[in-house]
Amino acid sequence: MGRIVVEVMPKPEILDPQGKAVAGALPRLGLEQFTGVRQGKRFELSVEGQVTDELLAAARQAAETALSNPIIEDVVGVYDADGAR
């Protein structure tokens, strides 16, 4: 069983209230090193057998048409979970 990872992030210019809330909470744990937090999404798509170029292309299509909204989000990674990045 292969796995393809798709990573989606809010566009840099889009306000990320969730990330902002997380950034506000970290100092309360004594973690004051971080100047900002952006929160995104990671999807794991399972496939039969090995991850092939064709499957990666299909995952890219899924990423761009359903897993992200290009108006507010960027697909920042589509890769074989077990392969080299």
Partner: protein, 236 residues
Amino acid sequence: MSAAGARIGVVTFPGTLDDRDAARAVRLAGAEPVALWHADADLHGVDAVILPGGFSYGDYLRCGAIARFAPVMTEVVDAARGGLPVLGICNGFQILCEAHLLPGALIRNDHQRFICRDQQLRVVNDSTAWTSDLEAGQVITIPLKNGEGGFVADDATLDRLEGEGQVVFRYEGLNPNGSLRDIAGVSNERGNVVGLMPHPEHAVEPGFGPDMGGAPRAGTDGLRLFTSVIGSLVNA
């Protein structure tokens, strides 16, 4: 066509909340509501469609993102491109944006909290299928209730929307969710598809609407959206 002959479809998705209120608003406006089901790829010959509010598919993935792929939406998208009047309220607005029938997107409120209040709106465009019984410049009050109501689009798109008259409603007095340029509702280029975050269907009957000055729960400003579309059908 007479007003009584107008049939207006109200779509129910799993997680839709306001379909009954929308159907009641249609009836109070003088038309016949027709229940449409998300899994049924058939509009049953309706003259207009309302996508009501709620949390379709639990807001999973993104608000409206999964509803967009429901069988009924293929029909709604085709019919809307052909000129069928379509109104998206709250989650319905989010679905119309995800389906690319309307520009822009809705993101989490800038203050990170759900908000529920009686909201003033300024009518900007009174020539759409859903606003012809309102007047540009008029201020109406209808309930607003959302967690992800921040309207965003890039500057070029916002400029185009303003230039082409596609901004239909603007928040008045207070911007409740961080929407860019105070935009509360937009239309497509043709003006047959309109989406807005606040809920006109909750302000259609005296005794159950927003407080209006000294008159508690008296607000019925929302009714005008529903009578507008009936008028546009009768005059079509």
